[in-house]
């Protein structure tokens, strides 16, 4: 796989950029732009090959099943899962976490048990565990990072107790852009007899992830943050655990036998995919994964780290600006979250919007983290390999005028 790709050609693969030549899109951590080939794959399926997968016995339905299952295999290969049946398709990472918290907790959680949740977690990897803990009479303990967003193995070790059933933290913070050493954290959890759950929503789109090497028990991520459409997400789980877990939703396609008073559930992965599946979404995700593979992570990572360091260094140099998380630009993976003294993030976002620059302002679905950091809200610029240096220059130029626009001397 070549390290050299023409960025102009890459941008042509995203019609959004052609349609909006004056827009600077720096909100890819919220949702990425769509790869044309992914949307076309879904469209092609629906327009020319449409049939209910996993149901019919006629050729078209069997083909639909094969396309859907091929997407599952591609997804499994992408994160180096041992078996395709360890990939459960969901709507998004939030649904993956809800499924997991509900089903896993009814298998392993007892009254008096504890779940350790990182303070950096997105609400989607926090609230489902809190709900489950409340249901089973268990408690949630927050694992706190330091002021630059780092989690130390020692701080996890200090929290682990015999009744700790589950430990969960993100592989990449959606606020700091910092990669967490989940391989070490998973090992520590396992040595304690606890299960380890990782949020991959921000990592899987930006770096190679090998669930077997990391030895995480579960990993959740979303298709729409990795070039595919909304409405397709993934739960990866180890087969030996998924096999024992009860279904989350019941209904069509997730059963082998139903009588008036008895039901035998299907095998993996169908046990967790009740109802007619989002075949178009899965096929689109498969096409997005093909595209990732054609670019290669060597290229993607070298481009994203160069662009991120460039953006972070310049923001750090602007007077009255501060960057949340690490002060080392190399530790920011596509994400730079910052504050401007005296200017509220929503005003920053509104002014940038007038300059056709899209960034995120607010709390990024991480209220407890912002409380932990002692700030109300922040502004986040996030990029992907399809962004350019020129776009970052436009961001920096607009940012440098904001304090003056808000009535400050400089």
């Amino acid at each position: 796989m070549s390290m050299h790709h023409d960025i102009r050609k890459i941008r042509e693969d995203f019609p959004f950029f052609t349609a909006n030549p004056h827009l600077v899109y720096l909100d890819s951590s919220a949702t990425s732009q769509r790869y044309k080939g992914a949307v076309e794959a879904a469209s092609d399926f629906y327009l020319y090959h449409n049939a209910s997968p996993l149901r019919g016995l006629y050729d078209m339905s069997i083909q639909a099943t094969e396309s859907f299952e091929a997407a599952r295999q591609k997804t499994a290969d992408f994160i180096h899962a041992g078996h395709a049946c360890e990939i459960i398709f969901t709507r998004n990472a939030s649904e993956s976490f809800n499924l997991l918290a509900s089903s896993l907790c009814s298998l392993v959680l007892k009254e008096g048990d504890e779940i350790i949740v990182g303070i950096t977690e997105h609400h989607s990897n926090m609230l489902p565990w809190r709900d489950a803990a409340a249901r089973f009479g268990a408690t949630v303990t927050y694992w706190e990072c330091d002021s630059e967003g780092y989690y130390s193995p020692e701080s996890l070790q200090a929290l682990l107790k015999p009744n700790t059933r589950i430990v969960t933290v993100t592989q990449m913070s959606n606020v700091f852009g910092l990669e967490n050493d989940i391989k070490t954290f998973a090992r520590l959890a396992h040595e304690n007899g606890s299960l380890f759950v990782a949020d991959g929503a921000q990592s899987v789109p930006h770096m190679p992830v090998d669930v077997q090497d990391l030895d995480v028990d579960f990993l959740c991520f979303s298709g729409h943050k990795m070039l595919a459409p909304f409405g397709i997400g993934v739960l990866y789980g180890k087969k030996k655990l998924l096999d024992k877990m009860p279904p989350y939703m019941s209904g069509g396609e997730m059963i082998d036998i139903v009588t008036r008073d008895r039901v035998k559930y299907s095998q993996l992965p169908h046990k967790f995919e009740a109802g007619t599946v989002n075949a178009g979404g899965a096929i689109a995700l498969g096409a997005a994964i093909d595209y990732y593979n054609s670019l290669g992570f060597d290229y993607i990572q070298s481009r994203e780290s160069e662009l991120t360091a460039y953006m972070c260094e310049q923001i750090l140099n602007l007077p009255h600006f501060s960057v949340m998380g690490s002060q080392d630009p190399r530790e920011h993976h596509g994400i730079v979250t910052f504050k401007i003294e005296g200017v509220h993030p929503h005003d920053i976002s509104a002014i940038l919007s007038q300059e056709n620059i899209c960034i995120r302002a607010g709390h990024h679905c991480a209220h407890p983290l912002h409380q932990h950091m002692g700030v109300m809200s922040s502004t986040r610029a996030s990029l992907m390999f399809y962004n350019t240096k020129e776009e970052i220059d436009r961001l920096i130029s607009a940012l440098s005028g904001i304090r003056r626009a808000m009535g400050y001397e400089e």
Binding site: H346, D347, A350, I351, Q354, G407
Partner: protein, 147 residues
């Protein structure tokens, strides 16, 4: 920079608010929150027995629009009766929805608050602009329910 709504009036009220402080002896206090933005103000009024707003202030945190709008509102309503304040609130809310529907006299009644009329074209910022006004309305409505 091409700013259509961050006017000098707005930035001045945001940077140097006249009413952003606790007042002495408020007899009406209500917190107003805009959860999508994180704007958060605590509005404090002193209303005398005749129903006149004799003093007012706010504390809190939020974007320039929410803070400046609350400050301009207090400029307008202090010294007026509750009924007059609600009348102004009605005009302000109508202006935010459709500034063209206001008569010139109504626009004049809003004094500096009329500088926020362009917010009507910024749907994502409407909630910020009306936060102070909305909180005041809720305050008076809550009082009616108690009576």
């Amino acid at each position: 920079m091409n700013n259509t709504f961050y006017s000098e009036i707005l930035t001045e009220h945001n940077l140097h608010p006249f009413h952003k402080h606790d007042i002495k002896d408020p007899n009406m206090v209500l917190e107003g929150v805009n959860p999508s933005c994180g704007d958060d103000i605590i509005l404090q009024l002193h209303v005398d027995e005749a129903g006149i707003i004799t003093d007012g202030g706010y504390v809190g945190d939020g974007c320039a629009i929410s803070q400046a709008s609350a400050d301009m509102m207090l400029d307008l309503v202090i010294g007026r009766s509750k009924e007059e304040a609600l009348h102004l609130s009605d005009i302000f809310m109508r202006m935010i929805k459709d500034p063209d529907s206001l008569s010139e006299d109504e626009m004049d009644e809003l004094e500096e608050s009329s500088s926020l009329q362009n917010i009507a074209h910024m749907p994502s910022r409407v909630k910020c602009a009306v936060l102070g006004w909305h909180t005041m309305e809720e305050m008076f409505k809550g009082e009616d329910e108690e009576e």
